[in-house]
C-alpha cells in the first residue's frame, strides 16, 4: 500500500504542476488572450466576465496569490467558467457531453491495440527472424504515416468510394441519443472505422517494444532450461518468457498513454467524432481559452489516473513488487 500511496503523491505533484502551468500560461504569454476574447464576444454577461477574471486574470482581479486561490477553488468545484463560444452553457456541461464518446471509443481501441500488439510482439520475439518478425519494417512504415493522413485516405476509400463505413460523426443524424438499440447500433457502426485506424497505427509500436524485450528474455537460461525439460511450447512462451517480458511493456503502457490520448484527439478531428478532441479543435479555432484550459486539465488528470491504475496492475502482476509490498 505504501508504494501506491507514494505514487499517488507523485501524481498529485504532477497534477499540481499541470494546474499551475495552466494558471500561468495565459498570464505569461505575449499577446493579449483576454483582449481577443473581449473583442470577439463584446456582449459578455457580468457573471461570465467574473469567471474569465478568475481563469485568465482579466482586468484587475486582485493580487496574483489571490487569483491563484480563486482559480484553485473554481477548478475544485469543476467550475471552468462559461463557454464563450457556445455562450449560455457552462464549460463543464459541454465537456460532460463529450467525455463518454472519447472514453468509450479511445479506451476500447487502445486496449485492443495494446493486447494485439503485445501478442504479436510475443510471437515475433519467440520466432525471432521468422516471417512475423520480417513484417516489422512494413508495420513501421504504417506507424510512420501521420495518423490523420492514413485516416483520411481510409475514409475516402472505405467511406466515400466503397460505402462500407460511415464517413463522419458519432451516430446517424436524426437519431436522438439514448439507451435504445437504433442509437447504440448506429453509434457502434460509426465507431468501427475510427477504432480500426487507431489500432492499425498504434499496434506496431506495442509490437516492436514487446518483441525487443521478448528477444532479450528468450535468450535467458531459464527459458532454454524450460524448453530442454520438454515443456509444451505454449507454456514456455506464455508462462515463462512472456510473463517476465510483460512488465517493461506495462510500464511503457503507462508512459505511452499521453501519446495515445493525443492520437485519439486527432482521430476525432478527422472523423468529426463528437468527443473531447473535436471540442479542443473548435476551442482553438475560436480562441475559446477557458474551454482549451479545461480540456488540458481534464486530459492530464485522466492520464494521471490511468497511470495510477497501471501502477496497481504492476503491483498485482509482479511478484517482486508483491514481495516488496509485503516486507514493508
Amino acid at each position: 500500500m505504501a508504494f501506491l500511496l507514494r505514487r499517488l503523491a507523485f501524481y498529485v505533484v504532477a497534477a499540481w504542476v499541470a494546474l499551475t502551468a495552466n494558471f500561468f500560461i495565459p498570464r505569461a504569454m505575449p499577446g493579449n488572450a483576454v483582449q481577443a476574447i473581449l473583442d470577439k464576444f463584446p456582449a459578455l454577461q457580468p457573471s461570465a466576465y467574473k469567471a474569465l477574471e478568475a481563469m485568465l486574470g482579466v482586468g484587475h482581479p486582485g493580487s496574483l496569490l489571490h487569483q491563484y486561490w480563486a482559480y484553485l477553488v473554481n477548478v475544485g468545484h469543476f467550475n471552468f467558467g462559461t463557454d464563450v463560444s457556445q455562450y449560455p452553457s457552462s464549460v463543464s456541461t459541454v465537456l460532460g457531453e463529450a467525455i463518454p464518446w472519447t472514453l468509450t471509443l479511445v479506451g476500447t481501441a487502445t486496449v485492443i491495440a495494446f493486447l494485439l500488439g503485445t501478442l504479436l510482439g510475443i510471437l515475433a520475439g519467440w520466432r525471432y527472424g521468422g516471417w512475423l518478425d520480417g513484417m516489422l519494417p512494413g508495420l513501421m512504415f504504417l506507424q510512420a504515416i501521420p495518423y490523420f493522413f492514413l485516416a483520411l485516405i481510409l475514409i475516402e476509400l472505405l467511406g466515400v468510394k466503397a460505402h462500407v463505413f460511415p464517413v463522419a460523426q458519432g451516430y446517424s443524424g436524426g437519431l436522438i441519443p439514448g439507451w435504445h438499440w437504433a442509437f447504440i447500433g448506429s453509434a457502434v457502426y460509426h465507431s468501427l472505422l475510427p477504432a480500426l485506424t487507431i489500432v492499425l497505427t498504434s499496434v506496431a509500436g506495442w509490437m516492436l517494444q514487446m518483441r525487443n524485450v521478448m528477444i532479450t528474455t528468450v535468450g535467458e537460461d531459464y527459458v532454454i532450461a524450460a524448453q530442454a525439460k520438454g515443456l509444451h511450447n505454449r507454456r514456455v512462451i506464455f508462462t515463462y518468457a512472456a510473463r517476465n517480458a510483460l512488465l517493461p511493456q506495462l510500464q511503457g503502457f503507462g508512459l505511452a498513454l499521453g501519446f495515445v490520448v493525443s492520437g485519439a484527439l486527432v482521430m476525432e478531428i478527422v472523423f468529426s467524432y463528437p468527443g473531447i478532441g473535436l471540442l479542443l479543435l473548435s476551442a482553438v479555432t475560436s480562441d475559446d481559452y477557458p474551454m482549451m484550459q479545461a480540456i488540458f486539465l481534464l486530459i492530464t488528470f485522466a492520464v494521471l489516473l490511468a497511470n495510477l491504475i497501471v501502477d496497481v496492475i504492476i503491483v498485482v502482476a509482479d511478484p517482486r513488487a508483491r514481495a516488496a509490498e509485503a516486507t514493508r
Binding site: 500560461i25 513501421m140 499521453g258 481559452y289 482549451m292
Partner: protein, 352 residues
C-alpha cells in the same frame, strides 16, 4: 595555409579501407534508413535550386487550377494554381530544418540534465528525475495546443521553441540510466584518481561512451518533432503562410483535395512524412542493434529445436541500473526516490 589544408585533407590508406568496411558492417536496417534519409536531406539541400516555381505563386489563370501531373507541373497544381512539386521541396526543407533544430536543442538539454543528474547523484539526481518524470506523465499534445494557442503565429520559431522545451525528458531519462551504469566503472575511477576535473571526466570519459545512446535519442527527438509539427500545422496552429509539409496538408484538406480527386496534391506530402519517419525508425533500430548484440541480424544466431537463440551478452541492458546504484542514499534523496515507479524494483532487500 593551403599546404596544411592539403596535408590534412589527404586521407591515409587505412582510413580509406576502414570506411567501406564500417559501412558494410552496419545492420541492413540502418543502411536502408540512412540511404532513405539521405534522399530527403539531398532534396532539402538542392530544393531551392531545382524548384521550378515559387511555391506561393498563385497562377491567375483558371485553367491551371487543380491540374493533374503534367510535363510543366510534375506533381500537378493546387486549387489556386500553385505548383505542388515546388511546395513539396520547400516543405521537406522547412520540416527537416525545424526537426533538426528541435532535435539538437532538445537532445542537448537531455544530455545536460541526464548526465548532471546521474553524476551529481543524491538529492539533485532525485529532484531532476522527479521533474522529468512529471513532464513525461503530462500528455504533450494538449499542452502544445494550449501553448501554441496563446503564442503569435509567425514563422516556425514558436513551434521550435515549444517543441524543444517539451522534448527533452525522455532522452534525459535514458541517458541518466546509462550514466549511472557507467559512472562506477573502473576507467572513471581511474580518471578520477589521476586528478581529472569533473567536467573533463564528463566531457571526455562519460559522454563519448554514450554516443550511440545520444544518437538514438537525437533520432527519436527528430521523429517526434516531425510528427508533432506536421500534426500541429494540420490542425492549423502554426503559421499557415510558410510551406511546411503540415501546412500543405492543411490547405489540401481545407480545400477538399481528396473529395475532388486531387490525389497529387494530398498524397505527396503525407507520403514524404511517412517515408522520412520510416527512415528515422529504421536508422534507430539499426543503432539499437549496434548497441545491443541480442537484437542483431537473426542469421548469425544458432538454432535450437527449430527456434533461434539470440546470442547471450554480458553487457547490462540499458535501464537496468539496479546494480550500478549505490545501496544507501542520503535521507532526502531516498525520500524523493521512493515516489518513483522504479523504487519498487531496486530495493536492496528484494532479490532480482
Amino acid at each position: 595555409m593551403s599546404s596544411t589544408l592539403t596535408i590534412a585533407a589527404q586521407p591515409t590508406p587505412a582510413a580509406i579501407e576502414k570506411l567501406p568496411g564500417r559501412w558494410r558492417r552496419l545492420p541492413v536496417r540502418a543502411k536502408a534508413g540512412a540511404i532513405l534519409l539521405g534522399v530527403f536531406v539531398l532534396a532539402a539541400i538542392i530544393g531551392p535550386v531545382v524548384e521550378p516555381y515559387d511555391p506561393s505563386y498563385q497562377n491567375p489563370s483558371q485553367a491551371l487550377s487543380m491540374n493533374p501531373p503534367s510535363a510543366a507541373h510534375l506533381l500537378g497544381t493546387t486549387q489556386s494554381g500553385q505548383d505542388v512539386l515546388s511546395q513539396l521541396l520547400t516543405g521537406i526543407r522547412l520540416t527537416l530544418e525545424l526537426a533538426v533544430i528541435v532535435g539538437v536543442v532538445a537532445t542537448a538539454l537531455a544530455v545536460i540534465v541526464g548526465v548532471t543528474a546521474a553524476f551529481l547523484g543524491g538529492v539533485w539526481d532525485e529532484l531532476l528525475s522527479l521533474v522529468s518524470n512529471v513532464f513525461l506523465v503530462i500528455p504533450a499534445l494538449p499542452l502544445l495546443v494550449i501553448l501554441l494557442g496563446y503564442l503569435p503565429r509567425n514563422g516556425q520559431t514558436p513551434v521550435i521553441i515549444v517543441l524543444s522545451v517539451l522534448g527533452w525528458p525522455w532522452g534525459a531519462r535514458v541517458i541518466r540510466a546509462q550514466t549511472l551504469a557507467i559512472r562506477n566503472r573502473d576507467f572513471i575511477a581511474a580518471a578520477r584518481e589521476t586528478g581529472e576535473h569533473t567536467w573533463r571526466i564528463l566531457a571526455f570519459e562519460i559522454v563519448p561512451n554514450e554516443v550511440s545512446l545520444i544518437a538514438a535519442s537525437f533520432v527519436n527527438t527528430v521523429l517526434y518533432a516531425i510528427g508533432a509539427s506536421v500534426l500541429l500545422s494540420f490542425i492549423g496552429l502554426t503559421d499557415l503562410n510558410s510551406w511546411s509539409l503540415g501546412t500543405m496538408l492543411y490547405w489540401a484538406q481545407s480545400q477538399q483535395a481528396l473529395q475532388l480527386g486531387a490525389w497529387w496534391w494530398f498524397v505527396p506530402p503525407g507520403l514524404a512524412v511517412a517515408l522520412m519517419g520510416t527512415a528515422l525508425v529504421l536508422l534507430n533500430t539499426g543503432i539499437d542493434e549496434l548497441g545491443n548484440p541480442r537484437l542483431r541480424d537473426a542469421t548469425r544466431t544458432s538454432r535450437v529445436a527449430g527456434r533461434r537463440i539470440p546470442p547471450t551478452d554480458p553487457t547490462p541492458v540499458i535501464g537496468d541500473h539496479s546494480q550500478a546504484r549505490e545501496p544507501r542514499r542520503a535521507y532526502v534523496a531516498a525520500f524523493l526516490h521512493s515516489f518513483s515507479r522504479s523504487s519498487l524494483l531496486d530495493r536492496g532487500d528484494v532479490q532480482r
